[in-house]
Symmetry: C2
Subunit: 287 residues, 2 copies
Amino acid sequence: MRDLSADHALLSLNTATVRKQGDLLAIVEACARHGIRAVSPWRDQVAAVGLERAVRAVKDAGLALSGYCRGGMFPADAAHAQEARDDNRRAVDEAAALGAPCLVLVVGGLPQFSRPGSAPSKDLGAAHAQVEDGIAALLEYARAANMPLAIEPLHPMYAADRACVNTLAHALDICDQLDPDRQGSLGVALDVYHVWWDPELSAGIRRCGRDRMLAYHVCDWLVPTKDLLLDRGMMGDGVIELRRIRCEVEALGFAGFVEVEIFSNDWWTRPMNEVIETCITRHRTIV
Amino acid sequence: MRDLSADHALLSLNTATVRKQGDLLAIVEACARHGIRAVSPWRDQVAAVGLERAVRAVKDAGLALSGYCRGGMFPADAAHAQEARDDNRRAVDEAAALGAPCLVLVVGGLPQFSRPGSAPSKDLGAAHAQVEDGIAALLEYARAANMPLAIEPLHPMYAADRACVNTLAHALDICDQLDPDRQGSLGVALDVYHVWWDPELSAGIRRCGRDRMLAYHVCDWLVPTKDLLLDRGMMGDGVIELRRIRCEVEALGFAGFVEVEIFSNDWWTRPMNEVIETCITRHRTIV
């Protein structure tokens, strides 16, 4: 297990963590000022400043990326299938332009939530199938662009509207199905918030192996959690056994960044410097 | 699959569904008036009117029970272990007095939430072990009282504070461990709200078998869900494939009641009659 206490060289900041405090350029500048070496930006934040400016800002600041958020939202009705395909190809292209090591996939839930305007359905099995088909199709494109895809299993409370892949086991089943030879082009993004509760988590991490562990995200689970989406906790403020999980991930040989991703109505009200400084402190003492 | 469309003879009302609209006696009276044949009461509602009055009211109304809510909350520190044990034995006794077919177990999460005042812990594995030990100990007592225990896997969003058994597979692993001979004294209460998202649900139901399927609960998952605990939907208002799941449960030979259990700040504001009538209509048309 790596020692994070001496510095924050392994910390990456998911830019959603301070999305309300400034645009991507301001976030990149703040990261550089705080000696943060990596970020994981969101597509809407990139679009807001323009892809070229985003690429230049990241390069000028000497920042690495730990991922790019996000592709996915595969379930769609026939009228929205082309939109889903085109949108995901653009996400791959943007990730490549930014030099991301992987494109994170939030796979989508039922079609009416995944691609709004799609005909409503309750057929979860059909959504699962559309997700697998969608990843299979995107994988060809992503391989040609040399951009690994990282399936992020989301907490089961998002099964209907955000992602119907809710366990590491399910994500790895898809990986095994679509990439049986483990070519390195398909894996998972493991976010503790989504998987900490799973009694099969340790087994899943071992099954994952180093080559399928493409990204590792941290935050914390608060009790009580006041909002299903926007009440994630800062590391140490909740109940997740962060060190145990990181130990298991690093036992695989995982050598990537530890990415902080916090969507929080609370932390979004605080100054960007305070949030970043807290992330750094907790990274060194808690994560 | 049973035909529910003709009447509501198979409907049971979990009394929490209208807990804000009246006490247990008022709920029992309303059920009798609406031709509802079964209820599943909560301990605090029974305590509020007194066990003897509750027993008499249920009997006088000719109501069956589909379960009794609830035992559990096993994780505790040493100072609270006796409290947990005694409390659960009383729950068994009350269930027996009321003539319940099973005591539903919400197993508890981390000890500081399961038994408030217990020393805080983040050790989820230790909580799992305490749950198994707690059920094992209670099972002896429950067998002597001829009261089956029904482990209810709760949605993973309750892992920290309410129940750290969050999948049907985990609940059945505990059943297999503690009751390998399937004596009929240990099984599960399956509530669609908690398990609908699980890609292993169908396999779990088949594994369950008729003898371990002790109770079946319905409501719906709303999108968006505004509160982690108190925003359950009326059947048909959400995204759960109710008929598919019931079909799988009844394929086992399950012949029990279909219990409606809705915790909802919305439905709690409506008149008891309206809620009960809606439950009956949806039972016949949606469930």
